[in-house]
């Protein structure tokens, strides 16, 4: 007998066909700690061999689940132990970058994350050398993603690293100037980075993670938007309830896909990341959810409140639907990857300042934002410092992924293509913060980090 009613079956079909419901990513986390060697050639070979061995069937398994369940699984990806730890004993990090890029290509994944360093409290000698290689690594590889954690609530903000990554971002943009500074789209600066995030470009496999694990990121801004269309004019209690119910269903599906992928690959299931991740496709926008709540345009007064409600309701609905929730879990607001955000930034109603306020109440931070190519390294470091402060004080993950687009100015746009979309160049503040950034040192951890 049919245990599910036709209405429910059609609801699911409509979510997939018309409302862009999908599993955004199945990400396999792989520990590279046992690949460490004092000989970099040996180390890079071990890394390649291990990644290609463990992830050999990742893409085909994802595709077979997609076919059987009729649910799109957009990305299959890999995250690895921060390479700065793996290459610390032998240097030559770029050899590891090339080996990982080759492994990503051999396994068929579209991105591999973990060309990363964790320097919230300070640098090791190896960390400093490693971070210096990031521009070249991103310019000379295709699928490699990089991140640097420069702050935590427990350690404070490493302002030397903040200054350093500002320069690294500029150099990465210059090294990929022929592609609009595309390298910067693969580089994330974090506060309170999480160890089990399945989403790119900030994914890495933390040192506290097991040998190999499957993490799944669900999505579905379009589904939430369509559900809210039926709650027009209703009070916020009903809005929150509608989002929670939708998030529950989306997450149940993500949990099922995660369990199935884990079973078929013989790899333990890690977490489901409850995030609303937009794409540039029409009807797959987080900004449009906010507008559906009654805002004329994303970025106007009320936007932060609307996003706070959305972010919280997604978590409340999703958390009951999954046995293990983790990663970033919250709404993403990457400007270039969201049709509504692109339109709002284009019209000038969404500013960097408003985006910064929005990052206080949602997942991650200033994401996929193009700024003028003339923006100085110090200004980029200032933008990063502000965002890191929000993360540190509020005990949450925040991140910065900005692209100082070479040769472009406000009014221009940068086309990245595919899921990375189109970024209208947004104005930055003209006042200099160079002296502030030049101080260096460390901003102490806040008083509420002393919990013991």
């Amino acid at each position: 007998m049919l245990s599910i009613s036709p209405v429910e079956i059609i609801e699911t079909l409509n979510m997939i066909k018309d409302e862009h419901l999908d599993v955004r990513t199945i990400t396999m986390g792989i520990s590279l700690l046992d690949c460490v060697s004092d000989d970099y050639k040996k180390g890079a070979k071990r890394v390649y061999d291990k990644v290609t061995r463990l992830a050999e069937n990742l893409v085909s398994t994802g595709e077979s689940i997609e076919a059987e369940y009729g649910i799109p699984i957009v990305n299959k990806r890999i995250s690895v132990t921060p390479v700065s730890l793996v290459s610390a004993a032998c240097g030559h990090s770029l050899e590891f970058a090339r080996a990982l890029d080759k492994a990503a290509s051999a396994t068929g994944v579209n991105f591999l994350g973990g060309y990363s360093a964790l320097v919230a409290k300070g640098y090791t000698k190896a960390d400093r050398e490693f971070i210096e290689t990031i521009p070249e690594a991103l310019a000379t590889t295709e699928r490699l993603c990089s991140s640097v954690n420069v702050a935590t609530t427990k350690a404070g903000i490493n302002m030397d690293a903040v200054r350093h990554v500002g320069e690294i971002i500029k150099r990465t943009a210059e090294a990929t100037a022929d592609r609009g500074g595309f390298g910067c789209a693969k580089l994330v600066v974090f506060a309170n980075a999480v160890e089990d995030n399945p989403f790119m470009a900030g994914a890495f496999h933390g040192a506290g993670e097991p040998e190999c694990v499957i993490n799944v990121g669900v999505s579905g801004p379009g589904v939430v938007k369509c559900a809210l269309e039926k709650a027009k004019g209703e009070p916020f209690g009903i809005v929150a309830e509608t989002i929670k119910k939708t998030a529950f269903k989306i997450t149940r599906m993500g949990q099922m896909v995660a369990e199935e992928a884990s079973r078929r690959l013989g790899v333990p299931f890690g977490i489901v990341d409850l995030s609303l991740a937009p794409t540039p496709a029409r009807g797959d926008s987080v900004a449009h959810i906010l507008e559906e709540m009654g805002l004329e345009v994303c970025g106007t007064h009320g936007t932060t409140a609307a996003l706070a409600l959305l972010n919280d309701a997604v978590k409340k609905g999703g958390v009951m639907a999954s046995s293990y929730v983790g990663g970033l879990s919250g709404a993403f607001i990457p400007v270039s990857e969201d049709a509504g955000m692109i339109a709002a930034a284009r019209s000038g109603s969404l500013s960097l300042e408003k985006l910064e306020a929005m990052t206080c109440v949602c997942s991650v931070g200033l994401d996929m934002i193009a700024v003028p190519g003339s923006t100085t390294a110090a200004t980029i470091s200032g933008i990063i410092a502000d965002e890191m402060a929000i993360g540190m004080i509020n005990s949450k993950t925040t991140a910065v992924r900005v692209i100082p687009a070479p040769g472009k100015d406000v009014g221009d746009e940068v086309e990245f293509g595919g899921l990375l979309g189109t970024a209208p160049v947004m104005p930055v503040h003209g006042g200099s913060c160079a002296e502030f950034i030049a101080r260096g040192g460390r901003i102490p951890a806040p008083i509420h980090s002393l919990k013991n």
Partner: protein
Amino acid sequence: MKAVVTVVGKDRTGIIAKVSGLLYEHNINILDIAQTIMQDVFTMITLIDTTNSNIDFSELKAALEGVGAELGVAITLQHEDLFNSMHRI
């Protein structure tokens, strides 16, 4: 394995005949069948058991889509667990 075949489109003669014919051809048992008009669109939902099927799941999917194209309707084949996970606790 149990799977759900969904047919959505304009009603016409031969939909059940064609779909059930294809399933019969591949030794697939129909466990339940329901049809209704939903938002003015013909909708048929069939629960099938593919345990003794003589065809690969992806081939069956393609064959059903082929029949759908012939009839001018959309036919989807999905594992039953997708719906169970979303709609049942």
